[in-house]
C-alpha cells in the first residue's frame, strides 16, 4: 500500500492534534525522504496519531538518532527585483542569515502491518545550551528506549518521560557529550609513538609528564 505524501500526513496530523506546529523539512537528495519537524510539546500526541491512525499505523520505530547543528551563517541565493540602470531586473543576491544552533532527535518510523515507510519525525530543541529537552517517545515505541539513551549519552539531549535515562555507551562518570560537533577530546591518554610529527610530539610530552609525575 503506497504511503500518503508528506503534505497529506501533515494536514491530517494537524487536524488530529490541535495546536501542533508541524513543518516539512525538505530533503534534496535523490531519495527525497522528506521529514516532519514537530514542536516538543505536541511531539507525543503527533507520534501517537502516527502510530494509531488506521491509514498510517506506523507501529515500528526503526531508528532514533541525534543530530547536532552548530551556530552557522547560512548563505542563500535569492532572486531580487532591483533597479539596474533605471530598468527593473531580476538579480541574484546572496542573502546571509544567522542560524542559531540546535540539537535534533530524528525518528524513522515504518509500518510492519502495512509494510510502508519511512515517515521521518524530527524534534528540535530551541538551542544547544544545557538543558536541552525533547519528549521521549519510548512509551509509544519500546525500540526507542536504548536509542534515546544513546542520543542522551552522546548528544546530551534529555528525553522527558523516558523510563531509564542513563548513559549507555560511555561510562557513568563521563562528563561530556562526545558526538557534539564542538566536542574537544581530552588530552589525557597516551599515544603510541607513531611516525606522525604532531602525534609524536604529544606522545613525548605525555611521556615527559608521566616521568615527572612518577
Amino acid at each position: 500500500m503506497p504511503l500518503e505524501t508528506i503534505e497529506q500526513i501533515l494536514a491530517r496530523a494537524e487536524a488530529a492534534v490541535p495546536g501542533a506546529q508541524l513543518t516539512i523539512v525538505k530533503n534534496d537528495s535523490p531519495c527525497a525522504q522528506h521529514s516532519l519537524a514537530v514542536d516538543v510539546e505536541h511531539a507525543y500526541a503527533v507520534a501517537q496519531f502516527l502510530r494509531d491512525d488506521p491509514q498510517l499505523r506506523l507501529d515500528y520505530c526503526s531508528n532514533v538518532t541525534g543530530v547536532d547543528y552548530l551556530d552557522a551563517e547560512l548563505s542563500e541565493k535569492v532572486k531580487v527585483k532591483k533597479l539596474v540602470d533605471g530598468v527593473e531586473k531580476e538579480v541574484e543576491e546572496v542573502k546571509k542569515t544567522q542560524r542559531a544552533g540546535y540539537l535534533e532527535a530524528v525518528y524513522h518510523l515504518y509500518s510492519m502491518a502495512l509494510k510502508h515507510g519511512p515517515v521521518i519525525l524530527r524534534q528540535r530543541t530551541p538551542g544547544r545550551a544545557d538543558p536541552v529537552r525533547v519528549t521521549s517517545l519510548t512509551p509509544l515505541w519500546r525500540s526507542a528506549e536504548f536509542q534515546e539513551r544513546e542520543v542522551f549519552d552522546l548528544y546530551g539531549v534529555l528525553f522527558d518521560g523516558h523510563p531509564d535515562l542513563r548513559r549507555i555507551l560511555m561510562w557513568d562518570g563521563f562528563k561530556d557529550y562526545p558526538m557534539r560537533k564542538d566536542y574537544v577530546e581530552p588530552d589525557d591518554y597516551e599515544y603510541e609513538p607513531t611516525p606522525h610529527d604532531e602525534v609524536l610530539a604529544r606522545a613525548k610530552a605525555h611521556q615527559a609528564a608521566r616521568e615527572v609525575g612518577a
Binding site: 530533503n27 537528495s29 535523490p30 531519495c31 525522504q33 526503526s62 509494510k115 519500546r142
Partner: protein
C-alpha cells in the same frame, strides 16, 4: 574477593526466607559473546532483574566516520558485525547510493546478492554453533559449524582478499570482479551445503535435550517484538512476517522466489529453527543467482573513488542483514565527510527486550536466551 559487583544485597520482604544475589555476568564471561555485561539479580536461580550494560567495546564508530571520507568509512563498517562484513558493506553502500543517486550495474547486483546470502548462511551457521555451545553442547556442534563456515570463508577470501574484513563493496558497485573459476567453486559449496544442514538437523534438531532446554524458553510475543523494534530472525520467530528483502525489494531480490520462514511460539527453539530454515532458503536463492549472473562492469563508471562529495541532503538506507535491519542514516552537507553518520545496529535494538524475555527464568535459560538473540559486540557497542 571484594569485587563490588558480586556482593549480596539485602533480602526483600514478600514473607520468604533467603536473599537476592546480585551477579555481574560479564564483561569477561564466555556466554556473553564478547565484552557484554548483564547485571542480574537472582532469587535462588531465578532471574528477578536483569540490566544489560554496554560500552566495553565502544570506539565511537560514528564520530570516526564523521571525520573520514565516505570511502574511508567502508573498511570500518566491516568491523561492526564482524561475521557479516559483506552485509554491512552493502547496507552502507546502499545508503550512500540513495544519498548520491548512483546506479549499480547488473553484474554488481548479482555479486551483492550472492555475497550477502553467503554471509547469511555463514552467520547462521556460526550462530547455531554458538547457541548450542551456550546450551552446554561443548565443542562438537560448534566445530562442525566452523568446518562448514571455513568453506564459505575460503570463497570470500578468494574474492575479496580477506576472510572477515572484506571491504568489498563500493558506492555504485563492487571493488573488483570475480576471480576466474570463482563461480564454479561457489556452485560446488552451495550444492554441498544442504548435506551439512541435513547432518546438523539429524545431529540436533530432533534431540530431546535440545527441545527440553529450548521450547518455551525466552518467549517473546509478536506485539512486544514489533513495539520493541525487533528485526530479523528474532522477529520472524515470533510470527511477524517482515523481511526487508520482500518489503523493500532492494537489490534484485524480487527476481527470485524464496520463502520467509515464520515461527509461532517465539521461543528459543523457534529462533534456532528459523535460522536453520533461512539457511536453506538462502541456498535456494544462491543456486539460480550463481547460474544467471551476467557479464558486464562491476562498478558504475560515474561513481568517483576519490573526491566523492554527495550533494547536501540525507538518506536512510537499510537492508536485511543476517541479524536484522541494518540501517545507515547519512546526512551530507556537501563536504567530503558525512555530516551525520548513524548506524542502526540490529544487535543493540534486539537486546531491548532481553530483560522481558529472561524474567522468571533460571540463569541458565538467560544464557541461551541471550545466545538466541544473536549479538555481536562490535555492532552493539560501535
Amino acid at each position: 574477593m571484594d569485587a563490588p559487583a558480586n556482593r549480596t544485597v539485602q533480602s526483600v520482604g514478600q514473607g520468604r526466607e533467603g536473599e537476592l544475589l546480585e551477579v555481574a555476568m560479564g564483561p569477561q564471561h564466555p556466554s556473553t559473546h564478547g565484552v557484554f555485561r548483564m547485571d542480574v539479580v537472582l532469587d535462588g536461580e531465578t532471574v528477578v532483574k536483569l540490566k544489560p550494560v554496554f560500552g566495553y567495546l565502544h570506539r565511537n564508530h560514528e564520530k570516526i566516520a564523521e571525520n573520514t571520507s565516505y570511502l574511508g568509512s567502508m573498511p570500518y563498517t566491516d568491523r561492526l558485525d564482524y561475521f557479516c562484513s559483506l552485509s554491512n558493506n552493502w547496507a552502507y553502500a546502499l545508503s550512500v547510493e540513495k544519498l548520491a543517486g548512483l546506479q549499480v550495474p547488473e553484474r554488481a547486483e548479482y555479486i551483492r546478492l550472492i555475497t550477502a546470502e553467503l554471509t547469511r548462511v555463514l552467520n547462521h551457521t556460526c550462530l547455531v554453533g554458538f547457541l548450542l555451545q551456550d546450551m552446554g553442547a561443548l565443542g562438537t556442534p560448534l566445530m562442525y559449524a566452523f568446518r562448514e563456515r571455513e568453506k564459505i570463508l575460503d570463497l570470500i577470501e578468494s574474492l575479496t582478499g580477506a576472510r572477515m574484513m572484506c571491504n568489498y563493496m563500493r558506492f555504485g558497485g563492487c571493488r573488483c570482479d570475480l576471480p576466474a573459476g570463482w563461480l564454479d567453486e561457489a556452485k560446488k559449496v552451495v550444492a554441498e551445503y544442504p548435506r551439512f544442514l541435513d547432518e546438523f538437523d539429524k545431529l540436533l534438531s530432533g534431540n530431546e535435550i535440545l527441545m527440553a532446554r529450548t521450547q518455551g524458553v525466552g518467549k517473546l510475543s509478536a506485539e512486544l517484538a514489533i513495539s520493541a523494534g525487533i528485526t530479523g530472525p528474532m522477529l520472524r520467530a515470533s510470527g511477524v512476517d517482515y523481511d526487508l528483502r520482500k518489503v523493500d525489494n532492494y537489490g534484485i531480490y524480487s527476481r527470485y522466489p524464496f520463502r520467509v520462514p515464520l515461527g509461532d511460539h517465539g521461543d528459543v527453539y523457534d529462533r534456532y529453527m528459523i535460522r536453520m530454515l533461512e539457511m536453506r532458503e538462502s541456498l535456494k536463492l544462491l543456486e539460480p543467482a550463481l547460474n544467471d549472473i551476467p557479464d558486464g562492469p562491476v562498478v558504475d563508471p560515474k561513481a568517483k573513488l576519490r573526491g566523492f562529495r554527495p550533494k547536501p541532503g540525507e538518506a536512510y538506507g537499510r537492508i536485511e542483514s543476517p541479524k536484522g535491519e541494518l540501517g545507515f542514516h547519512l546526512i551530507s552537507d556537501g563536504s567530503p565527510n558525512p555530516y551525520r553518520y548513524r548506524v542502526r545496529p540490529p544487535s543493540l535494538i534486539n537486546l531491548t527486550i532481553l530483560e522481558d524475555m529472561c524474567l522468571g527464568q533460571t540463569i541458565a535459560d538467560a544464557v541461551i536466551t541471550l545466545g538466541s538473540v544473536d549479538i555481536v559486540l562490535g555492532e552493539v557497542d560501535r
